[in-house]
């Protein structure tokens, strides 16, 4: 890759190719964006009815105490009370004074009643705020203190969701306890003296930073979170959930979608009518061409992120926004572009590209977004780099290891995707029309040179596996709190699901490239060769996984969630060394080799047999994982 060639391609992409986006388009876009801002301003100003306007019909007379409640809440439409209409399903609730005339029958009527209950509560708070005697109006003041609990907790969902073993869980709890106790003692003695404290405390694990005035100042709610409010009443208690920061973080994701749309079009149009041939015959290498065509879009995405951060910072919405937010966006931008690049290399037509782009948008947005919801709650949130953005915007400090943990996996994944896509950036692949799954196989086979490639491919695909597993953990982490409650005693459900997902992802990563190799006749179709390739693939995966473990032990130790993704990677204390060696080195090696060999034997016989082989391998893998988890528990 040569810098000046790359720059020349980039310049060409901006000037010549971007001619498609002329001044007229830019002007219309600018007008549209301004119009969007105007609409948003009007919507925020409250000039419009909400989305749930008028969905419940309530029959109240003006004398009823609920008349004011229903009139103040947009989701209710006021009618004359008519019990017959309620029975016919034409009215949800009918009141005589404060007496409900007909008990709720349908789900809609019950929903209306509980909506009215919630609405009444906030209505009371609003009217009582105007009372002279505020002590009688708000007789309860609250201070919330967040404090780490000691000791092992069988109900701790953290150990639960991750399929972690008890030993590591205990140590992670110990690590977190230090800052927890420090925080607890400061607010300990002062009982309920400061009502202002109540608000401050409710900003949850926003740590001292939010209370110290460095937090995001996001309108009224933000003010309440940062402790400016005078009365800490029960209604002021806000569960830890950085909603406002998330809305801001969404600002960073939206422009990505426009960038990848333009990028995808540009890449695919190279493949129409053999247009890309022009560039291919120049002395520029594949890397120069792909890098050069990507660079402007990458700079554009990062530039927009920088502009948003600057705007938020200097408008005072999030005064603590800094370069960290922009840097954290880099891996997300890379991931979006890399996935789109692969999509543009695979797609046969614009229509197909549209669907591929939408898929990328939806899945990557949820990857970035869902973990970030739990920013204040758990370190698992760090799986998404967007969490760093949220932390930065709310003025929390980000440590280097947290930054690395959050950004390195997606960054490496993006590079792997670029590598795979670039394998198709050549004449024989670019201008042929094949279905997407076949193109995926082409991309994988393009990297296979000899039998040793099986080893290399498993290692190369590891970042994808890590990201997929981390995302699965983050998703199931939420479900865990549900399943924990729903199933009462059956707490292993989330663990089983995580282990299942891990098995499927790892087995696919180990065997898909083997199948591609067979499909492209790169490997001999004999049983011996199949088993040998399987063992090589398993070995490659194992080595890469352990390499990751070493990297993690050196600087990511502090993160308990690191254990989550690659379960069984850290030996529990109190076990003899030879058992540790056996369990943590040879057993996984044997497992990966055996399962990869099973899939490999299937793969050499064709598609159906490959599917069956992977199925068996996944089952073996799950059985092994369950044994490990159960025996270590």
């Amino acid at each position: 890759m040569q810098w000046d060639k790359l720059r020349r391609v980039a310049k060409w992409e901006v000037t010549k190719n971007a001619g498609g986006i002329d001044r007229r388009t830019l002007a219309i876009t600018a007008v549209a964006v301004v119009a969007m801002g105007g609409v948003a301003a009007i919507a925020v100003a409250g000039a419009s009815p909400g989305l749930n306007a008028d969905i419940y019909r309530v029959g109240v007379e003006e004398s009823s105490p609920y008349y004011g409640v229903a009139a103040a809440d947009g989701s209710f439409r006021i009618q004359d009370p008519n019990p017959k209409a309620v029975r016919r399903g034409e009215q949800e609730l009918a009141f005589d004074g404060d007496r409900l005339l007909v008990p709720p029958q349908s789900g809609k009527q019950a929903a209306a009643l509980s909506a009215l209950r919630d609405s009444t509560e906030s209505y009371n708070d609003r009217t009582l705020a105007r009372e002279d005697n505020q002590t009688a109006a708000f007789p309860v003041s609250v201070t919330v203190v967040y404090q780490e609990q000691g000791g092992p907790n069988p109900l701790d969902p953290r150990g639960e969701a991750t399929g972690d073993d008890g030993g590591t869980d205990g140590s992670s709890g110990g690590g977190g306890a230090t800052d927890g106790s420090g925080e607890g003692t400061t607010t300990d003695g002062d009982g309920g003296t400061g009502a202002g404290d109540g608000g401050g405390g409710s900003s949850a694990s926003g740590d001292g930073a939010a209370g110290g005035g460095g937090g995001a100042n996001l309108g009224n709610i933000g003010a309440r979170l940062t402790g400016d409010v005078q009365g800490g009443t029960p209604s002021d208690i806000a569960p830890p959930f950085p909603f406002e920061s998330l809305v801001l973080a969404f600002l960073y994701i939206v422009p990505m979608n426009f960038v990848i749309q333009a990028y995808g079009s540009s890449m695919l149009s190279e493949r129409l009518n053999r247009r890309g041939e022009l560039l291919l015959v120049t002395p520029a290498s594949r890397g120069d061409i792909v890098g050069g065509k990507t660079l402007p879009y990458f700079l554009g995405a990062v530039g927009v992120a920088a502009a948003i951060t600057a705007a938020l910072r200097f408008s005072g919405v999030a005064p603590s926004g800094s370069a960290i937010a922009v840097l954290a966006i880099v891996p997300i931008a890379m991931l979006f572009l890399a996935a789109t690049f692969c999509g543009a290399m695979f797609a046969r037509s614009f229509k197909e590209l549209t669907f591929v782009t939408v898929t990328i948008t939806v899945s990557l947005t949820s990857y970035a977004f869902i973990p970030a919801i739990f920013t204040d709650v758990t370190p698992i949130a760090l799986i998404s780099p967007l969490t760093l953005v949220v932390m930065d915007l709310t003025g929390q400090s980000v440590s280097l290891s947290e930054f690395a943990f959050s950004t390195v996996p997606p960054l490496v994944t993006a590079l792997v995707l670029f590598g795979l896509g670039a394998g198709l950036y050549r004449e024989e692949d670019m201008f042929t029309q094949r279905a997407i799954p076949l193109k995926v196989l082409d991309a994988l086979a393009g990297r296979i040179k000899s039998r040793k490639s099986a080893l290399k491919m498993s290692a190369i695909l590891l970042p994808l596996v890590v990201v997929a597993e981390l995302v699965a953990v983050a998703f199931l982490f939420v479900l865990d709190s549900v399943s924990l409650n729903v199933f009462g005693t059956n707490q292993t459900l989330a663990v089983v699901i995580v282990l299942g997902v891990v098995a499927v992802v790892e087995e696919l990563a180990k065997s898909l490239h083997l199948y591609a190799g067979y499909a492209h006749a790169r490997y001999e179709r004999t049983l011996r060769s199949a088993i040998g390739l399987g063992v090589l693939s398993g070995l490659g995966f194992f080595v890469a996984e352990k390499g990751l473990l070493i990297a993690r032990l050196s600087n990511l130790e502090s993160l308990p969630v690191g254990n989550a993704a690659l379960q069984g990677a850290t030996p529990p204390s109190g076990v003899p060394l030879w058992v540790v060696a056996l369990l943590f080195l040879f057993a996984p090696l044997a497992l990966h080799s055996v399962t990869a060999a099973i899939s490999s034997v299937g793969a050499q016989r064709g598609r159906g047999a490959y599917a069956a082989g992977v199925g068996v391998a996944v089952l073996v893998h799950i059985a092994y994982n369950l044994t490990v988890v159960v025996s270590l528990a």
Partner: protein, 362 residues
């Protein structure tokens, strides 16, 4: 053009069929349905996950154990007694309560004391709530604590009603309602029903710009069809695809126990929205001729149009929600009729524009 040709041999219908067929050949329609399923599942998952955090009662949560200390503990115990999700135990010794918290025997420690109000008119109950830090469970505990304290506040207000100028409105009886009801009808259903329309518009942009960029429009023009026929056909296929998918979602929701009312009116409205969006796509595709600017403008413009619909007396999403939940008003039907008229008028204008375009210049 001979008049005795059956309707299904009409060039417009042929073009529409060809486009829809190419979607199914590339299996992209399958991908599209999968995406929509994912979006629906994703948003439901978010809501179910989050609601279970904020409303522990919604998923028969395990009870939250609270240790109650301080001289106002009796009032707090009364308040907790009426809450199902909370189990309060009185501790005489605050240290014992803290110890129980540390040993995870209780989820929260509430210290309630009577204190003199700063303004000097009577006393307040000051509560210090100690809750666990750093897990999803702590959110659940905080919500439950808030619920108990709200009950305490109601109870205290009732006792002090003499000092208040206006009595607080009594709460209506509790109902065992699905906490997702409002979300399902106001967000999920409109999302599912509008998504196909927006994808249709995007695909129209693709199919028109692709014919132009690949030069295959030239081949189509050799056949006895005008540019207008081609555009009509492409628009027709995509407009009809949207209500078909919407119907699929309505059936799927029904299977999942979410009945959708007024289906014909909803389908008409979805068709109208799809026609409007497709019209935008057609005009952009023919005017821009290249995918990149056309798609860019398409996504920006539809966002603006959909956002600007806030200025209508009723947002289209609300129209669908009110129809689906069976609370339609005259305004709702007015929107359906208005949307349909607008779609027809907009497409008629777009046709005049396309008819004036010199097809040979494309």
């Amino acid at each position: 053009m001979p008049e005795d040709r059956p309707w299904y041999r009409d060039p417009r219908v042929v073009v529409a069929r060809r486009d829809v067929a190419s979607l199914s050949r590339e299996k992209t329609i399958v991908l599209a349905l999968l995406i929509q399923l994912f979006v629906a599942g994703f948003s439901s998952f978010l809501v179910v996950g989050l609601t279970s955090l904020y409303d522990p009662g919604s998923v028969s949560a395990g009870e939250v154990e609270m240790a109650v200390t301080g001289d106002a503990r009796d009032a707090l115990l009364d308040a907790a007694a009426e809450q199902e999700g909370a189990d309060a135990v009185a501790y005489r010794n605050p240290d014992a309560a803290i110890l129980a918290f540390q040993e995870r025997r209780v989820d929260a420690v509430l210290n309630a004391r009577y204190v003199e109000a700063a303004s000097g008119d009577g006393n307040r109950i000051a509560v210090t709530a100690r809750v666990p830090e750093g897990s999803v469970r702590s959110t659940l505990v905080v919500v439950e604590v808030r619920r108990v304290l709200n009950a305490l506040e109601r109870q205290e207000r009732f006792e002090r009603a003499d000092s208040l100028d206006t009595d607080p409105v009594p709460l209506p009886p509790e109902a065992s309602a699905s906490p997702y009801f409002g979300f399902t009808y106001t967000v999920l259903v409109p999302l599912l029903l509008f998504l196909p329309a927006f994808i249709s518009g995007s695909v129209v942009v693709d199919t028109i710009t692709e014919e132009i960029e690949r030069g295959t429009l030239e081949l189509l023009r050799v056949a006895p069809v005008s540019l207008l026929d081609v555009v009509d056909g492409k628009a027709l296929g995509m407009v009809l695809l949207a209500p078909a998918q919407a119907l699929l979602w309505v059936l799927l929701l029904l299977v999942n126990g979410i009945p959708v009312s007024n289906v014909p009116a909803i389908l008409l409205f979805v068709t109208a929205v799809a026609a409007l969006v497709v019209t935008i796509g057609v005009v952009l595709g023919v005017a821009m001729r290249r995918r990149r600017p056309a798609q860019l403008l398409y996504s920006v413009l539809t966002l603006v149009v959909f956002g600007a619909a806030v200025l209508l007396p009723e947002h289209p999403a609300t129209t669908v929600a009110k129809l689906a939940v069976d609370s339609p008003t005259l305004l709702t039907y007015g929107h359906v009729a208005g949307g349909t008229l607008l779609a027809v008028a907009a497409y008629a204008v777009a046709r005049r524009y396309v008819a004036d375009v010199d097809a040979d210049a494309l």
